[in-house]
Symmetry: C2
Subunit: 403 residues, 2 copies
């Protein structure tokens, strides 16, 4: 009797859509996976603080669940939360207090992904200064959109955003410019004048402006600057213009794991955003949204604590790693990342692994952030407990000394 023949099924992996199949793993996730077994390594590669979500927010979610908020809900988000967002933005930026400009999403990442789907498709281009968070270019490529990354130059200790170069990258196929300020990974803040220049250029060319001001409340003003929040596109744009802002509850209120964020967009495209939400994920858990509204309304003391913690964290890094003669960087103006280069440590991928194994400190390699981040750059998150940050800096500096 002959053995049963295996069915002729043919290729599986190769049958995937090429743009999706060929997209490599995120460079940040690659480190995370490498470091998974290194339990003693201090984890500074990730873009989150080390505080769990505060109890007053968790309790609000548990109470909402107990109330039975477990059914399908408004695709745009529950009115309570959209109203709270209206108040919040009115308070911070003086924009009209109108819930109709806000759409609840499954985190800042989904806010970006929905915005991409709304404005661009196969063969379109989006222009984005680089180094940048890799979660812009990668989803674009997977959606067959071409990211046009415009490398910034690190000159005289400063990351230069050359607007002429940025604008020159815009072609007939460009659908938007992406602007992230304060920037991940650079901590660089785009000035109000620069925001206006980009706005005017986008108006003239009829393209979209995709803004990401997720870190705007983590702002470290220089001398003579009285602002308490980074300059925002909201301060210079009209409610009805080709502006979409992606935002998240993750950073301000220590809710990274929740996956809840929002889009701020012109009301005229509301039905389209609602459709996109419906057909991507069909909304966000109502009980989470109730808790997010509590975070907005009652979370200012916690936010103040988060900011103070990050400011001190930054100072610890500046006083140790930043004080070394072999380390180059621009002092972060916002966000909670320290992006630095070490003389003679060019291969950031290999060195990141060595640091985990030999120094017990995990950083994100600059290569993960696209053009401009190669040549030995590293990103370090300083929104961590001061003790653990001090230990990490000790370990890192000792390891650098021994090289």
């Amino acid at each position: 009797m002959s053995e049963q023949q295996a069915p002729d099924i043919g290729p599986v992996f190769d049958a995937l859509k090429p743009d999706v199949r060929d997209e490599p793993e995120s460079g940040i996730i690659r480190v995370a996976n490498y470091a998974w077994q290194a339990e003693d390594a201090i984890k500074l590669w990730v873009g989150e603080g080390d505080l769990p979500t505060p109890d007053f927010i968790c309790n609000a979610a548990a109470e909402a669940m107990a109330r039975g908020e477990t059914f399908y809900t408004w695709q745009r988000g529950i009115p309570t939360l959209r109203e709270a967002l209206g108040r919040y933005h009115n308070r911070l930026f003086g924009v009209p207090n109108d819930p109709e400009n806000y759409f609840i999403t499954g985190g800042g990442m989904q806010a970006i992904h929905l915005a991409l789907q709304a404005i661009a498709g196969a063969g379109d281009q989006l222009v984005i200064p680089s180094p940048a968070w890799p979660n812009y270019a990668a989803p674009m490529r997977m959606l067959q959109i071409e990211p046009v990354e415009v490398p910034m130059a690190f000159e005289s200790g400063v990351w230069q955003l050359d607007l002429d170069r940025l604008f020159d990258a815009v072609t007939d196929r460009t659908r938007a410019i992406c602007l992230n300020s304060p920037s991940n990974p650079l901590g660089k803040v785009t000035s109000a004048d620069e925001l206006i220049a980009v706005r005017d250029f986008c108006r003239k060319r009829g393209i979209w402006l995709l803004g990401d001001e997720v870190y705007s409340r983590f702002y470290y003003p220089g001398d003579g600057d009285n602002r308490t929040i980074a300059p925002s596109l909201l301060e210079c744009c009209e409610p009805e213009e080709r502006l979409i802002l992606a935002n998240t509850f993750s950073k301000n209120w220590a809710m990274t794991g929740w996956r809840i964020g929002w889009l701020q967009a012109p009301q005229s495209i509301g039905q389209v955003v609602e459709n996109l939400i419906q057909y991507n994920t069909s909304g966000v858990a109502s009980f989470m949204q109730s808790a997010a509204a509590v975070a907005l309304d009652e979370g200012e003391p916690f936010m103040a604590q988060q900011l103070e913690r990050a400011q001190t964290g930054l100072q610890i890094v500046l006083d140790t790693l930043g004080a070394r003669g072999d380390v180059q960087y621009q002092r972060p103006e916002g966000a909670f990342y320290f992006f630095f280069r070490v003389e003679g440590m060019d291969s950031s991928d290999a060195n990141t692994r060595r640091m985990i194994d030999e120094a017990g400190v995990g950083l994100a390699p600059g290569t993960a952030f696209g053009p401009g981040g190669e040549d030995g750059w590293y990103r370090l998150c300083f929104a961590r407990s001061h003790d653990s940050l001090r230990t990490a800096m000790d370990r890192l500096c000792t390891w650098l000394d021994k090289r």
Copy 2:
């Protein structure tokens, strides 16, 4: 002094991507929005039961939050939940108990959306029998994928899935056949023989099979059928084949509002699925996943109650609306929808609104489900409390009598 001139901003809505801009609102959502003010209307248009999530699941989520499960987590899903899914499928379908075939998603909808992104792009086609849940064709169009809907015929009281016609719709541009069984809205179950025929055709043509067996546990076997669950592609496919199944916690465990589901896929495409999750939403809340694992491990008594409730609900509908001479339908073999046509009531959109206003009962219009669902078809969800279902049937039959 001249008035300040408004800036020349140009179009906003018209600047959206055309495929996304021009997609109409879902026909089901349109009813929901129409009925929003009709507080007394019994809401049978929606695809969810009326029981809130049971306490043992909500409590598990609250406890996980209190344990600090509020940070970023595994993009594919937490090991606990993927292991629970392995056990669950092993128990139900005899497939290998392997967590590596499962990927946690933001609901069944996202499972479908991720599968679409993985296998098809601009200009590709997917073939799908119709009437079907509108949340297949709409997201395809928004992703510039062309849905090729193959209308089924209602003949002699039965919805006929003509496999030759289905296969004839496959062209060189076809990337997959979508198969939903038990089907929403028809309640039709694809037989094991039909599943094998579709599998063999997909193997021969080298295309994907996108399966949706979300309702497989809501199965109402005919006389002489000893199965307790609908026939599944898992029973006839290999672990490594071009098969992706979308599934959800929504229906079995009354968790529609949570937005948590899963993809079942070959292990060889695991990294690609993980990348898609990372760049779409970056995962699902860890505390929700812990609760979902509890639902799988401890939820069988609740599932049994859900099934019994739906069986009685179906009988109530069959004994009332189904017993009328002017009503045509195929008796549902699964899921929890009754899809029916009333003689002389062709315009289902207009009549759906009339039923809300005049009878106080809200149904979904057949037009929402694509070709084959026009001409006066209606979908009714019977996973509701028996009292409210009896009242709804009384109202509807009285209203039909008066026509």
